[in-house]
């Protein structure tokens, strides 16, 4: 097993709102290993994005993070602004969902790339330019020198996301956090971006965190998967274990609701009944209980702890019996 790169212990993300504090992430323990691709999946509001924004120190003003996050053994949670500017973009980088809005429309692509090297590496603009051209070529953008003096609106969505990836990797960070990197892109472009991430991971050995609600994306790229629900980790497993032998009813619901081409067209798309709980009025027991087909008395009263099932497989569920048929995923 590869060495641990990022260790998250008891991470909680809290937002103070008009209705009092709301916990977007609760009691999260996990680690990212060097060079792996860790997938984090969950629906909107499950806390998957807020987890990583908290680690990057990018929470909204009313948000605050508690717990401990160590990068290479060094505590990085809630660092002062100055220390953050040395860490972000240098040792860990993050790219975002919508490449259309994630780049500054007022600055050339070159300026938005070179500034990273000028700041973190103290390079001159000229040196940085040469490095940026190479970086654009490594994400398969042709005619890179000319493109540096162009503006983001002159690029397509897929190209912009390539630029974002190239920019993030300029400083060769140990960790690249991708928050829904392909959600805003066409399916064919999605596949190209995923292939690119896989290629870069192999070339640079960068650990990648892939935050998405798309199980297909996870299946293509991730080594391990964490399933989030209502700010909690409900299941964690190697990708093959998860798809083949998931043990949490929510994971089951997620996998069932993936549209399938081999089903008759008249078949209804499976859904999970109900909606995620209001994070401000969290039930005492398991947050998934109201929507769970397997719920029993204890689920209402008591939060299930995250326990190991062996083989690096963890889950948080009281239900001991079998889940529904799994033959299609196996």
């Amino acid at each position: 097993m590869a060495a641990s790169l990022l260790e998250i212990r008891k991470l909680a993300v809290r937002f103070s709102t008009g209705d009092g504090p709301v916990y977007a992430v609760n009691d999260l323990d996990l680690e990212v290993r060097c060079g792996e691709v860790l997938g984090m999946v969950g629906e909107s509001g499950s806390g998957k994005s807020q987890t990583w924004l908290a680690i990057m120190g990018l929470l909204a003003k009313n948000g605050c993070a508690e717990g401990s996050v160590r990068l290479g053994g060094e505590e990085i949670l809630n660092l002062p602004q100055r220390a953050l500017t040395r860490l972000r973009g240098a040792r860990m980088a993050m790219i975002f969902q919508d490449p259309m809005t994630a780049m500054n429309p007022f600055l050339t692509v070159g300026r938005q790339m070179t500034e990273v090297l000028e700041w973190h590496r103290g390079m001159s603009r000229r040196e940085a330019r040469a490095r940026c051209i190479a970086a654009l070529e490594s994400v398969h953008i042709t005619d890179a020198a000319r493109r540096l003096s162009m503006y983001p609106h002159e690029f397509s969505g897929g190209m912009r996301q390539r630029v974002m990836i190239a920019t993030a990797l300029l400083t060769e960070p140990q960790l690249l956090i991708c928050d829904e990197p392909t959600t805003a892109l066409d399916v064919t472009v999605q596949a190209q971006i995923l292939a690119l991430l896989d290629e870069l991971r192999q070339r640079f050995g960068t650990a990648i965190v892939l935050v998405t609600h798309d199980l297909g994306v996870i299946a293509q790229l991730a080594d391990r998967v964490i399933v989030m629900y209502a700010g909690r980790q409900v299941e964690q497993a190697e990708v093959h274990t998860l798809y083949g032998a998931y043990r949490h009813p929510y994971t089951e619901g997620l996998l069932r609701s993936v549209p399938r081409l081999d089903q008759p067209r008249s078949a209804r798309l499976a859904t999970i009944p109900g909606r995620p709980p209001d994070l401000a009025r969290r039930p005492a027991g398991c947050p998934f209980e109201p929507r769970c087909a397997y719920a029993s008395e204890i689920c209402r009263r008591q939060m299930p702890p995250l326990v190991s099932l062996g083989d690096a497989h963890l889950r948080a569920c009281h239900h001991d019996g079998a889940l529904g048929p799994q033959e299609r995923e196996a």
Binding site: G57, A102, H153
Partner: protein, 307 residues
């Protein structure tokens, strides 16, 4: 760029023509005339006056005559300020308005922009609340209250500054009118700047800039400032003209020989040529400053430059 300017100047011609035509006929349609006075003139005198100013001709002929004069840049004689021309009146009054208006705008940008930016950066702090409450007051309290207050406090009580008059634009005579004109503008600019800065700071590309580890100073100066200025630019075009026209109250209170009073006097006295001249002047100013705002837009925003 040059093609844009040319196109806009050409497009301004029909606009101006419509404005001239409408105001020409609306003025003629208003009851009374330039020589209708409380004490009626003898019919012979009136007839002579009307013949002298061609007011006895059919209205279409007058309109044609007016247009040909305008093409030569001649706004005609004033009917009320006898023995002067409208051109002379404008040449006399416009520099006054340009001076106090320009200074007030410069002051508004110089004070309002940093005030708004600081308020945005310290959102929901005491600084933010105090400056925005001040701005709200600056917007809501009308000039005809602010100007006398300034005179009362700084001129009458403290004797620091003269209470009024132009004195050929002596600096100490400028301070109070410029302040009175600038206060609401400062407030507007500060509020706009705060709003747009907050909006920009919440945009995804600012999050990207921070995620890249850039220091906050670079994030604000390089990434946030330019986009935050955009709403201000579209506001400034009309604001320049509003400041020039809106100075009527300030001119009146401080006794300044600006153009504003010609607007009022001219309209009340049916001084056709004077009202027309001032109207056309403002129309041209509005067109010109909107064009300048659009050009600035292009300079700042690469997306606008392409179109």
């Amino acid at each position: 760029m040059i093609r844009l300017v040319l196109r806009r100047v050409l497009a301004a011609i029909p606009t101006l023509l419509v404005i001239i035509t409408l105001s020409f006929f609306m003025l003629r349609a208003a009851p009374g005339g330039p020589f209708t006075e409380a004490r009626r003139l003898p019919p012979q005198v009136l007839a002579n006056l009307e013949r002298m100013y061609h007011l006895n001709e059919p209205v279409w002929e007058q309109y044609g005559r007016y247009l040909t004069h305008i093409l030569r840049g001649d706004f005609g004689p004033s009917y009320v300020y006898r023995s002067t021309t409208v051109n002379a009146l404008i040449e006399q009054g416009l520099p006054v308005d340009l001076t106090i208006g320009g200074l007030a705008l410069a002051l508004a940008l110089l004070i309002g922009m940093p005030l708004g930016i600081l308020a945005a950066l310290r959102q929901n702090t005491a600084w933010d609340y105090v400056s925005m409450a001040g701005a709200m007051a600056g917007i809501s309290v009308p000039t005809f209250v602010v100007a006398p207050l300034l005179i009362l406090l700084l001129a009458v009580k403290a004797h620091w500054l003269p209470a009024g008059s132009w004195s050929n634009g002596a600096p100490d005579h400028l301070v109070l009118p410029v302040l009175a004109l600038a206060l609401p503008l400062i407030a507007y600019v500060a509020r706009m700047m705060r709003g747009s800065m907050i909006e920009v700071l919440n945009s995804p590309y600012i999050r990207t800039a921070r995620a890249k580890g850039l220091p906050e100073r670079t994030v604000i100066l390089r990434h946030a400032l330019k986009p935050a200025l955009m709403p201000l630019i579209s506001f400034l075009g009309p604001a320049v003209v509003n400041t020039l026209t809106g100075s009527i109250v300030v001119e009146e209170i401080f006794g300044l020989p600006g153009i504003g009073r010609f607007f009022v006097d001219g309209a009340l006295n049916r001084d056709y040529t004077l009202v027309m001249g001032v109207t056309i002047l403002y129309a041209m100013l509005i067109i010109a400053f909107n064009l300048i705002a659009d050009l600035l837009y292009g300079v700042l925003d690469p997306r606008a430059r392409q179109q």
